[in-house]
């Protein structure tokens, strides 16, 4: 088996007395869609933040393509893309400018071909010269995804990409995530929608109160549970039911 793209060992994060991550071990395999499922406050964002460099672990380590994310941050960050949970945008600049800046931060010169490809894929072509201020919520989220992809990362982290997104855009984003995976990008996405993990993920991890409770192939999980739905397994592990997708 090839080396995992992301290796997480004993990852721990404390905020004062609060244990956001309580020693997580996890491998992400090359080319898979990994769905990290858990209720609000489970530690999903914290885990992603440590791997992408937005937060520092209290203990443990994370590696991307075999390199430590703190010591070798220059290397690992070149290969990681992040779509953060909270939408952000710079109202001073247009869609094209935002994408060019983001590529530049990664030492990448955005070619016209790549720009066109991203704008087309995320349905932003007509908004190319529009200020981010004038975009709708859904467009801003798509811009966020395009920004995360400018440097062609090998691993893409999507933190609750469809929270508060309408059904149509959710389906479109699912389709696009599959396309990315089929072209070789490894995808890690967090969600608290069971339906989303079930529809999209190749493997599923269930996290609760900073601990990984289960990691399994989706098909094996479905088969092993003998016809039980993911929801029943989830409720058994987490002890409560999350909202289904609206």
């Amino acid at each position: 088996m090839p080396e995992p793209v992301v290796q997480i060992r004993g990852l721990t994060k404390r905020y004062g007395d609060l244990v956001a991550l309580g020693g997580v071990d996890l491998d992400i395999r090359a080319g898979e869609i990994f769905g990290l499922l858990g209720p609000n406050g489970a530690g999903k964002t914290t885990l992603i933040s440590i791997v992408t460099g937005l937060a520092r672990a209290t203990a443990g380590e994370a590696r991307v393509l075999g390199r430590d994310v703190v010591r070798d941050y220059r290397f690992t960050r070149r290969h990681v893309g992040l779509v953060p949970q909270e939408i952000n945008f710079d109202p001073f600049f247009t869609v094209e400018e935002s994408l060019r800046f983001q590529a530049g931060y990664f030492d990448v010169r955005l070619t016209e071909a790549r720009l066109t490809e991203l704008l087309t894929a995320l349905d932003l072509t007509a908004k190319r010269h529009t200020s981010a201020r004038a975009l709708s919520g859904g467009m801003r989220r798509r811009l966020l995804i395009a920004k995360a992809l400018v440097h062609e990362p090998k691993v893409l982290f999507l933190d609750e990409p469809t929270a508060g997104v309408d059904v149509e855009l959710r389906r479109a984003l699912w389709a696009y995530v599959r396309t990315l995976r089929d072209r070789g990008t490894t995808v890690v996405l967090t969600t608290h929608y069971l339906e989303e993990a079930e529809a999209l993920a190749d493997r599923i991890g269930i996290i609760d109160r900073g601990l990984l409770r289960l990691v399994e192939e989706k098909t094996a999980l479905m088969a092993r549970s003998g016809g039980r739905s993911l929801e029943e397994i989830y409720v058994e592990l987490v002890g409560r039911k999350e909202a289904a997708a609206p």
Partner: protein, 253 residues
């Protein structure tokens, strides 16, 4: 080696303040022009020369320095703070940019804005009082180092600040009083010994005085005191901002 990442952040920061020229360039231009008209021309007529220099000309270096440091501080402080507030700081934090590159880009963009404002101020004043500069290189060095010091201070306070009010704390309670009491509008020789001693405890006094020497060829204190102090302040502020940035405090959870 200058990376594309650094150049990108620098050009983004410069374009950001050029997008709002009314706020970033016209406002300081107007206010310093008003200072000049009020203190330099109208009141200046009643005043004699200061150390053989017409009063209107005497205040030019101080006005330039004031514009430079206020704008250098404001640019890095507001830009970085707004990025924190909007969440766009994430774009930079997940990138491979090093701390030195980030700091360098924020500081350099702020220095560019400071020097632009200083240059405009100087040009406006020059129309009234002439454009001679006794030691141009020294003048450029003093304003640049002062801009670096305050730009780095702006980075540090944007990291620290959690509200806009806190961003404005330093300019309101330090920069404004220190520049006004720093001899922009007077010579310490006009002051009583007690007040002169207070003025001499003010770092901005040495910056103003150093620039005054560079522009007019004469000053109250040794020009080297001003140049030396502003160099130390710039180095100290850069170091502090770098350490803060690297610590991740209030930026990386």
């Amino acid at each position: 080696m200058i990376s594309l990442g650094f150049r990108t952040l620098l050009s983004k920061e410069i374009r950001r303040f050029l997008r709002v020229p009314g706020q970033t360039l016209a406002t300081p231009l107007l206010t310093t022009t008003l200072y000049f008209i009020v203190f330099g021309v109208s009141i200046g007529h009643q005043l004699r020369e200061v150390g053989g220099v017409p009063y209107a000309r005497f205040i030019v270096p101080g006005l330039v320095l004031m514009g430079v440091v206020q704008n250098a501080y404001l640019n890095s402080a507001s830009s970085l703070f707004v990025m924190k507030l909007q969440g766009t700081i994430v774009d930079v934090l997940v990138s491979p940019l090093s701390y030195a590159e980030m700091l360098g880009a924020f500081v350099l963009a702020a220095v560019v804005r400071g020097l632009l404002v200083g240059g405009i101020t100087w040009a406006v004043a020059g129309i009234f009082t002439g454009f001679e500069v006794a030691h141009p290189l020294l003048a450029l060095a003093v304003v640049t180092l002062a801009a670096v010091a305050f730009a780095a201070g702006g980075v540090a306070s944007a990291i620290w600040a959690q509200t806009f009010e806190q961003v404005n704390f330093f300019p309101t309670f330090f920069i404004l009083p220190l520049t006004f009491l720093g001899g922009v509008f007077f010579s310490v020789r006009m002051l009583s010994p007690g007040l002169a001693a207070v003025a001499r405890a003010n770092p901005v006094f040495y910056m103003v005085d150093g620039l005054r020497f560079a522009v007019l060829g004469s000053s109250d204190a040794s020009p080297w005191a001003g140049a030396g102090l502003v160099f130390l302040l710039a180095a100290g502020a850069l170091t502090a901002a770098y350490m803060l940035l690297r610590s991740g405090w209030r930026l990386r959870g």
